[in-house]
């Protein structure tokens, strides 16, 4: 109180006497002075209160933050550190995180020859570190008069370090990035490649160019390098054994449509794609179109069974060749008798299958193949995809030949997808090269009934147990499938000695997990195969080798005896009985 009042500037100037201490003294004061003093005090009090309130609020907030903050408030320290180094282009990795393509910082060596005092010595020292460059060559470059000459682009870290250690003035480094493909040729057609400015030119590098450029998060493919390696190695071995000109293969998860491996031979090195021939860069699995031959009998048979037109007990007389237009449809190994549907499929009768398609009709075949995605380009995430070659117009004669895989050309990836739908319970899942995360919904489309799928599995298993695909039988792995051999069209004519040998199958047939497709272009028969170069002799053994090697990696345990499905056994017994009957009838007729 003593000093409170005089501090007010207005009041101080008037030289007021000290305030009386009496409690009622205020009433003794009169006039302007007392009123002004009162106003001053009130203002002081109000201002003080406001400040006190403000500080209380700030203090309260401080306590709240200190005691009740849940740690979600962003911290400065986190935002200053970038989570990944920016290399300009994201990595491509396989399903297990193995790097398939990555941008790596590199140093390139250049020199300012004017600053180098002893070019002889510098050239000799550099030649020791850079094994692919001679001292003479380096010396020649250092003789230049300019202020800048490249010595070597994209040094390895080791070379960089050692040159740095030489400490020669005039040698400098320019930093840059280089796109590298640690796995070399493996998966080259899928990964693709980039130009010198790391712009994608082919494969995933092209189709995911924008994604790779904009994000630091790697693109995770559905590929498994181990499976890819095995498939490629077996295809190459088969190609070599049968002196073939090319090969293609696919391994696909039937439940997710994920492509675990996709090979096309001959192949190329993505890091040096410019040196590769167009033939080597051609992706036969997606861009190549082939008449797949008897592999198509899977679809014709599935269609006939699914429509209810025939059952496994029905059959056709396959003793007479079909003559339609200028074609004659024959069997490769004629049985010359009535055959049941399982026999037609197991022994790959063209006549029987064509009759099945004839009964079903052209519109039904068209609709069924279209449902299986065989009449339009595959949806796989690559730019290098061809739409199939379909007959135009689709006449009845086309229906007959298409039933056993001639007169329609499709890409191997389409066939793998369609077969996956046939064996997985009857649902078509779009093929993909990108790993599907668990629990992400996939658009599936039912193409055949579940019971048809089961019957087809049994039939495909029988092909491998007793039919044309016996060489694909791997102990305990329950492989099922269908062989295919088709003559190649050369200048509009089918040539007998140039053919495509193929095998499409799945395993294990009691609960299919993976579809494997093997396709060998122009194999030549060997002594070992008695000069046969058919799907059963060429592609089936490759199928067996691939499956035997990939099954342990993919966690498919081999089944022990007794795992053959009971229904497949029943079909076999009944089929054998019918065949005996048919044989007896034929003898009786003759």
């Amino acid at each position: 109180m003593k000093t409170g009042a005089p501090r007010n500037a207005n009041v101080r100037d008037r030289q007021l006497p000290p305030l009386p201490r009496h409690p009622h003294a205020r009433h003794l004061l009169a006039g302007n002075t007392a009123a002004t003093l009162e106003i001053g005090r009130t203002r002081l009090l109000v201002a003080g209160l406001i400040f006190a309130l403000a500080f209380t609020v700030v203090g309260g907030r401080l306590i709240e933050l200190a005691l009740w903050s849940d740690g979600t408030t962003p911290r400065l320290a986190q935002s200053t550190v970038s989570p990944r180094p920016f290399t300009g282009r994201a990595d491509i990795i396989d399903r297990n995180g193995v790097i398939l393509a990555a941008n790596v910082p590199t140093a390139s060596l250049y020199a300012d020859p004017r600053l180098i005092r002893n070019p002889e010595k510098a050239a000799a020292a550099l030649a020791k570190i850079l094994p692919d460059m001679s001292a003479v060559k380096i010396r020649a470059r250092l003789a230049s008069d300019s202020a800048f000459v490249w010595i070597k682009r994209n040094l390895t870290p080791q070379e960089h370090y050692e040159i740095n250690r030489l400490g020669i003035p005039g040698l400098n480094f320019r930093r840059g990035v280089q796109r590298i493909y640690p796995n070399g040729k493996l998966g080259a057609h899928i990964i693709g490649f980039t130009d010198l400015d790391t712009e994608g030119l082919a494969g995933i590098e092209r189709s995911f160019n924008d994604v790779l450029k904009e994000s630091a998060v790697p693109v995770r493919l559905s590929l498994d390098v181990r499976v890819q390696h095995i498939l490629t190695e077996e295809l190459a071995a088969t190609m070599k054994e049968f002196d073939a000109i090319a090969a293609a293969g696919v391994v696909m998860d039937v439940r997710t449509g994920e492509t675990l491996a996709m090979s096309s031979l001959p192949d190329f090195t993505p890091g040096d794609a410019g040196a590769a021939s167009n033939d080597a860069r051609f992706n036969r699995a997606t861009l190549g179109l082939y008449e797949m031959g008897s592999v198509f009998k899977i679809f014709t048979t599935a269609q006939a069974l699914d429509s209810g037109m025939v059952t496994l007990n029905d059959g056709y007389d396959t003793s007479k060749p079909i003559r339609a237009a200028r074609f004659t449809i024959n069997d490769f190994k004629p049985k010359n008798r009535w055959q049941s549907i399982p026999e037609i499929f197991m022994y790959s009768s063209n006549i029987g299958t064509a009759l099945m398609a004839k009964d079903a009709g052209t519109p039904a075949q068209k609709a069924f193949l279209s449902k299986l995605g065989l009449t339009r380009a595959s949806s796989i995430e690559l730019g290098e995809v061809s739409p199939p070659i379909l007959p135009l117009p689709w006449r009845d004669i086309n229906t007959l030949t298409i039933s056993y895989g001639h007169g329609i050309a499709v890409s191997p990836i389409q066939v793998a997808s369609a077969v996956a739908a046939i064996v997985n319970g009857g649902e078509l899942i779009p093929a993909t090269l990108i790993k599907r995360e668990v629990n992400t919904p996939v658009v599936v489309r039912r193409v055949i009934r579940e019971s048809t799928s089961r019957a087809m599995r049994d039939l495909m298993r029988l092909v491998v147990r007793h039919g044309t695909g016996r060489k694909a039988n791997a102990e305990g792995l329950l492989i099922g499938g269908k062989t295919g051999t088709s003559d190649k069209l050369v200048n509009g004519r089918y040539v007998r000695d140039k053919r495509i040998a193929s095998f499409v199958g799945a395993f294990p047939m009691n609960d299919p997990r993976y579809v494997v497709l093997i396709m060998i272009d122009e194999p030549k028969g060997t002594k070992k195969t008695y000069n046969y170069a058919t799907g059963g002799w060429v592609a089936a053994p490759a199928m067996r080798n691939v499956v035997e090697r990939i099954a342990p990696i993919l966690g498919v345990a081999p089944a022990t005896e007794g795992f053959e499905t009971a229904s497949s056994e029943r079909i076999l017994v009944r089929t054998k009985a019918r065949a005996q009957q048919a044989k007896a009838q034929r003898i009786a007729v003759n």
Partner: protein
């Protein structure tokens, strides 16, 4: 009262000076820390680049073809024949009295010298020695 007023001016000057000095020191320290942070960030960047190079190299060394070659050269191993692989749940149970003895019984049945693939949650792990 006069004393207090005389003291107030030097006191405030001293306080101001003290605050200024403290602020200056704080600023210096922040500057130093910022430099250090930049340095650490640069180091992190270099390390990350190195890691990227090393990861690529790791992928390169782990090429399946390379591993296959090395395994052929250095390991005396063969493919496991299907009849040597058995599922844990297919193993015969010796004493079905309670679960503890079941597990004990199962593990004692495992052939010690032969290859055994144990299926655990989709992964296949090979144990045992191969001749």
């Amino acid at each position: 009262m006069g004393g207090v007023r005389r003291m107030a001016v030097p006191l405030s000057i001293v306080t101001t000076l003290a605050i200024a000095v403290m602020l200056f020191h704080l600023k210096q320290r922040v500057g130093g820390l910022e430099k250090e942070l930049a340095q650490v960030n640069r180091t992190i960047g270099t390390h990350q680049e190195t890691i990227q190079v090393l990861r690529s190299e790791w992928s390169f060394l782990n090429r399946p073809a390379n591993i296959a070659d090395l395994a052929k050269k250095l390991l005396n191993m063969q493919r496991t024949p299907p009849d040597r692989v058995i599922r844990l749940e297919d193993l015969p149970v010796r004493a079905p009295s309670n679960s503890v003895t079941q597990t004990a019984g199962a593990s004692s049945i495992l052939p010690k010298s032969s290859a055994l693939t144990v299926r655990t949650g989709g992964l296949t792990r090979q144990t045992g020695s191969l001749q």
